[in-house]
Amino acid sequence: MSTLLEVDSISVSFDGFRAINNLSLTVPDTGLRAIIGPNGAGKTTFMDVVTGKTRPDSGRVLWGDGAMNLVGLSESRIARLGLGRKFQRPTVFEAQSVAENLDMALRNPRNPFRVLFAKRTPEDRTRVEAIAEEIGLVSHLGRRAGELSHGQKQWLEIGMLLAQDPRLLLVDEPAAGMTVGEREHTTDLLGRAAKTRAVVVVEHDMEFVRRLDCRVTVLHEGRVLAEGSLDHVTSDQDVIDVYLGR
């Protein structure tokens, strides 16, 4: 197991407020990892930095075997390198069908002229159907994504990430607003995805993190407070003080 992503002492501040303070962490190339922390701990900013949305004031984000620095690359370039992101609020293209959403996300050439003249191949269709099967939306392929329930939209977005076939999946609060049954389905989805790639889940729901059963990183005020199994971090006195004690 080698390192896929190495965040090397990044700092981000907005108008003097330090959202991330000298944060370093590494993500191996397969398996689940959870990042937890109270509101304002810098979880979303961390994802913004890694995916290219926010440029850090200092530090490096190294990617893959060649340790390529992602800082300064565009969002689309980073996405093409194999980094997929799921937002907290489900963001699917509501005016388009489930099938179109998945088809757009499929890993295919992204050059504008290739996109212009691309044909949907039978393999594309097979992949779309396979992913729909995986996320349990096969019978909804022809529906507009906007008609789906909240949980179904979350799965569709996870499905779009799977379609991108990324090496690293960054998932922001996947279980927010889900019923118990939907949560189990989501946990299964993420667990299966993590067999072949790295999955980083940002979450503040402890129960959900326990179900993921993975290594946990606790963020607080923009830096790593503790790292280890969930039992290990929840027994850490610092963590209890700033996070669980409240």
């Binding site: 689309s76 504008p112 949907r120 269709r125 179904q152």
Partner: protein, 415 residues
Amino acid sequence: MTATPIALRPRFTLAGNPSVLWALLVLAIFTLGVTVLAEGVGAGVISTSFVKTLGKTLCLCLAAVAMDVVWGYCGILSLGHMAFFGIGGYAIGQWLMTARTTDIVAQNLAGQPLPPTPRELEQAVASQIFGVVGAEDFPWIWAFSDSLALQLLMVVLVPGLLAGLFGWLAFRSRVTGVYLSILTQGMTLALSLWLFQNDSGLRGNNGLSGLQNIPGLDQWGQDAISIGFFWASALALALGYLLFAWLTSGRRGAVIRAIRDDEARVRFLGYGVEGTKLLVFTLTAVVAAIAGALYYPQAGIINPGEVAPLASIYLAVWVAIGGRGRLYGAALGAALVSLMSSWFTGGGAPDIPLGVYTIRWTDWWTVLLGLTFVAVTLLAPKGLGGLFDLVPRRANRQGDWGPDDGAWRSEEGQP
């Protein structure tokens, strides 16, 4: 379970897009009908000047369809596409004026005992064209005006380069929404102010005129020329419609619409949003310019007022009234509103005497148009095109209507 048919077509076909087929059919019938009834070649029911109006309307429809793609599909509210339309008109107008004036001057000088040298001929033509702005020579901007082929190239090249440069600068710095609209208005305003100047080289506020006389086609007469341009406009509209129907179909169409709805999300899917927007912006600008190049020979005259910001706002109003996000809606809106506009402002509509005040439509038409725009925006955002949704059609829906199992099933039809 059996494989569910999914809404993904492998490629663009006419059979898969019945609305395109219908639109082209309607256009073909309309073109044939007008030809049969026209003064020049048919029964003589439709006057030559009305044939020209209809031909011009088809050009406006093409510009509106282009506007619909850039705004309704890609989400870029460009308030500058009529500038590209005007540039197309100016580009073709330069050749028309030069060639026509050269013919006339050569005829006048033919009676002289000594035949004029090419230099004398050129000077005579230049003073004929540019005398109104006090110039004696061809400005640099007319360098290619003696060649139809080069000037046709300019119809495409100049707006293409301008739109490409403008779009590249704007999209690269991620200017979106209302700020981009304002920028495009600024571009149009700057262009029209520049054209208004006498030393712009395009005859200032006189504009280019006499464009209805096509050099070399004098023996045809305006009756036949008007039908020729009418057919050319219909053909251009048909081809443009097909091009844009293709562009907005399939995965490329899905990406374009996705950029309209959430461009940040499209970036995280790995697509180059800026490149795609630039492509759509430039392509639609070029098509608008081609529409303009067909429009102005039918109008006969072009002046900087045609490039003014207001023209582009009208274009957006037509598309909004017609229904953005569907190509036939845009064409319908442009046709209907521009024809009504010429009817109202041309004195066709009878004045309404109210005793103390008489409503003269020449003054009140813009007010009516404005109210219509507000009403459509508030009450019927789908516009005229939305009327076609009222036509009952076979349900081709897959899956259930509601979010969960207890909701309406597809077998039960529309809730």
